[in-house]
C-alpha cells in the first residue's frame, strides 16, 4: 500500500523518537541500544483533520484532500467532481454509489476514501471518452433501460462487473449480479436486456 510520505502522526512520532534516541546515545550508548530494541513502533496513522492523499482513479493518479471520515463516495463527488456515482441511501442499501475497486463492484458510500489508497478505483466516468461511449452505456440507451436515471450509473457499474466476470452471463446470473442495485422506477427488464445485448456484442 502506498501511503503519503509523512502523514500527520499522533502523539509521539517515529521521527521524534529517533531524535530522542540519538540524544540518549550521546549520554549512554548502552541504554540507547536497549531502548531502541524495546521501543514499540508507533503505527502509521492519520490524525483528525484533512490530509493530502493520492488515489488512482480511472487510471490516473489524483491528489486530493480528505478527512479520515471521508467516504470514497464523498471524495469522488465533492473533491474530484466525479458525480456519476450517486448518493442515495448512504448506507450500502441501494447500489446508487457503485464503483469498482480493484475490479470488484462495491458500495463507495460504505468505504473510507483512505482505504482506497493503493487500489485502482474505476467510476462510471471512465466509460465515456468524448463522443465515444462504452457499448454497455450505448445499450442502456438503445434499450431505454432507465426512467429517472438515478440508479443508472450504479446499474451500469454492476453490469460491467457482471460482464467482466462472466463474459456471456445467463439471465439468472445477470439478476444475481445486479441484486445489489435497486431501481425505484422498475426498469429491471430493460436493464437485463441491455446487459445481454452487450454480451452478444451489440454496439448500437
Amino acid at each position: 500500500m502506498s501511503l503519503p510520505d509523512e502523514p500527520e502522526r499522533r502523539g509521539f512520532s517515529r521521527r521524534a523518537f529517533i531524535k530522542g534516541a540519538s540524544v540518549a546515545a550521546v549520554t549512554s550508548a548502552g541504554v540507547a541500544a536497549a531502548n531502541l530494541a524495546q521501543a514499540p513502533q508507533e503505527p502509521k496513522s492519520f490524525a483528525i483533520g484533512e490530509h493530502e492523499v493520492e488515489l488512482k482513479i480511472n487510471g490516473q493518479q489524483r491528489k486530493l484532500k480528505v478527512e479520515t471520515r471521508t467516504t470514497l463516495l464523498d471524495a469522488l463527488r465533492d473533491r474530484l467532481d466525479l458525480t456519476g456515482a450517486k448518493k442515495i441511501c448512504d448506507r450500502g442499501a441501494c447500489g446508487g454509489c457503485t464503483v469498482h475497486v480493484d475490479g470488484h463492484a462495491v458500495n463507495s458510500c460504505m468505504m473510507l476514501a483512505i482505504d482506497a489508497i493503493g487500489s485502482e478505483v474505476t467510476t462510471i466516468e471512465s466509460l465515456t471518452q468524448g463522443e465515444q461511449v462504452h457499448p454497455l452505456v450505448q445499450n442502456f440507451a438503445t434499450c431505454d433501460a432507465m426512467q429517472c436515471g438515478f440508479c443508472t450509473p450504479g446499474m451500469v457499474m454492476s453490469s460491467l462487473a457482471c460482464l467482466q466476470r462472466r463474459g456471456k452471463p445467463t439471465r439468472e446470473q445477470v439478476q444475481h449480479d445486479l441484486s445489489g442495485n435497486i431501481c425505484r422506477c422498475g426498469t429491471y427488464g430493460r436493464i437485463f436486456e441491455a446487459v445481454e445485448r452487450t454480451a452478444e456484442g451489440a454496439t448500437k
Binding site: 500500500m1 501511503l3 499522533r10 514499540p40 513502533q41 503505527p43 502509521k44 496513522s45 492519520f46 490524525a47 483528525i48 483533520g49 478527512e67 479520515t68 471520515r69 467516504t71 448512504d90 448506507r91 450500502g92 442499501a93 447500489g95 457503485t98 470488484h104 463492484a105 462495491v106 458500495n107 460504505m110 468505504m111 473510507l112 483512505i114 482505504d115 454492476s158 462487473a161 444475481h176 449480479d177 441484486s179 445489489g180 442495485n181 435497486i182
Partner: protein, 327 residues
C-alpha cells in the same frame, strides 16, 4: 461521522496494542462500523484499520485433515466462490455467505466482521432512542414496542436478534476461532464467542477490549457429512433473515447417524438446538420426522406481540434445511 484518528497497524501486535486503548474501535471493511458511526451511536476517537493486515489475514487454506482455516479478513465473496468450500460438507457456510446482503456488500464484508456485526434492532441503531442494551435507557424498548423482527426465544431483558448469517452455519460445522490479545493467542470454540446468557447489559460477543480474531477454523467434518443453510426474509436481496437454520447431517445405510442444528435470527445469540437434533439420530429422513424436529426446535419459543409468524415460518425453514441436505 464524528472525526477520528485513523490507525494503520503494520503488524498484529501493533493492532492489538492500538485497539486496547480507550476509545479505540477495530474496523475490518467497516460496513457495520461505519453505519453505526454515521448514525452516531458509535463515536470512537480512534479507529484501528485491520485492512492494513489484509496480506496476513485474508486466506482460505485447506488443512491436512481436510478442515479449513479461514483468515479473519476473508470476504464473503471469497467464501461463496472458493473451490475449497465446494464440498457438500461445507454447503452451509457457502450458502450462508452467498445469501448475505448483496454482491456489492459481499465483495468487501469480512467473515469476522459478519460474526461481530451489531444487532439490527431499530431502537439500538437509532440515536433518537435510548434502550437498556445501548446503556442509554431503563428498558428494552422492543419488548413492548415495534418488535416484528425481534427474538422469539433465548432472551432475558432484551429481545434483540443476532443478525449474522454466518454464525449459525459455522456453529453447525463446529467451528472454532483464534484470537490475539496483546501477545497472547488462544483458540476457542466459536460458541464461546457469544455470551451464554444474552443479557441486555452484556456485549454481543465475549471478546475483551483489544482482542482481535485472527482466524476461523472449520474442523474436518465427519465422513459423508453434508450441510445446508436456509433462511426466510422479506426481500430476495438486501435483507437480513427473519429466521434462519443451519444443519449438518451424516446419513449412512438410510439412517441419520449424526446431526447438528442451529437456529439464527430468532434470539439475541445464534441458538444451537442439540435436543431437537437428537431426534434425528437413528431415524430415516422423512418429512414427518423433520416436522417433529422443527416443532422441537421451536418448543421453547415465546413470541412477542408482533412476531408470532416467526415460529411458523421458522419451522418451515428448519424442514426446508433438512430436506435440502437429505434430498
Amino acid at each position: 461521522m464524528k472525526p477520528f484518528t485513523y490507525i494503520l497497524p503494520r503488524s498484529l501486535p501493533e493492532a492489538a496494542t492500538a485497539a486496547a486503548r480507550k476509545g479505540a474501535q477495530l474496523k475490518a471493511a467497516g460496513i457495520d462500523l461505519i453505519d453505526r458511526m454515521k448514525e452516531r451511536i458509535e463515536t470512537p476517537s480512534e479507529v484501528v484499520n485491520l485492512l492494513s493486515l489484509k496480506g496476513e489475514l485474508s486466506y482460505i487454506k485447506s488443512e491436512r485433515d481436510s478442515g479449513l482455516r479461514i483468515g479473519a479478513l476473508t470476504t464473503l465473496n471469497d467464501l461463496e466462490l472458493d473451490a475449497a468450500l465446494g464440498a457438500a460438507q461445507f454447503g452451509a457456510l457457502r450458502e450462508a455467505a452467498g445469501r448475505t446482503a448483496t454482491p456489492l456488500v459481499r465483495n468487501r464484508a469480512t467473515i469476522v466482521g459478519n460474526l461481530l456485526q451489531v444487532t439490527r434492532c431499530w431502537y439500538l441503531r437509532s440515536a433518537a432512542f435510548g434502550c437498556l442494551h445501548g446503556k442509554k435507557g431503563p428498558a428494552c424498548l422492543a419488548m413492548t414496542g415495534e418488535n416484528r423482527y425481534h427474538s422469539v426465544m433465548g432472551y432475558f431483558d432484551c429481545v434483540r436478534v443476532h443478525p449474522s448469517n454466518l454464525a449459525p452455519a459455522l456453529l453447525a460445522l463446529d467451528a472454532e476461532f483464534t484470537s490475539q490479545l496483546g501477545d497472547r493467542q488462544s483458540r476457542r470454540k466459536l460458541s464461546e464467542l457469544f455470551p451464554k446468557e444474552a443479557r441486555a447489559m452484556l456485549a454481543e460477543h465475549t471478546l475483551l477490549p483489544g482482542e482481535i480474531v485472527t482466524a476461523i477454523h472449520v474442523p474436518a467434518q465427519p465422513a459423508n457429512a453434508r450441510s445446508a443453510y436456509r433462511e426466510s426474509r422479506e426481500k430476495l436481496s438486501f435483507d437480513w433473515a427473519t429466521t434462519a437454520c443451519a444443519a449438518r447431517i451424516v446419513v449412512e445405510g438410510g439412517k441419520i447417524r449424526t446431526a447438528t442444528l442451529v437456529l439464527g435470527a430468532v434470539a439475541p445469540v445464534p441458538m444451537p438446538m442439540p435436543e431437537a437434533a437428537k431426534l434425528l439420530i437413528g431415524e430415516a429422513p422423512s418429512d414427518e420426522l423433520f416436522q417433529k424436529v422443527a416443532n422441537a426446535a421451536y418448543q421453547s419459543a415465546v413470541p412477542l406481540s408482533q412476531n408470532v409468524y416467526k415460529v411458523q415460518v421458522g419451522k418451515a425453514v428448519v424442514r426446508e434445511t433438512l430436506h435440502a441436505i437429505t434430498r
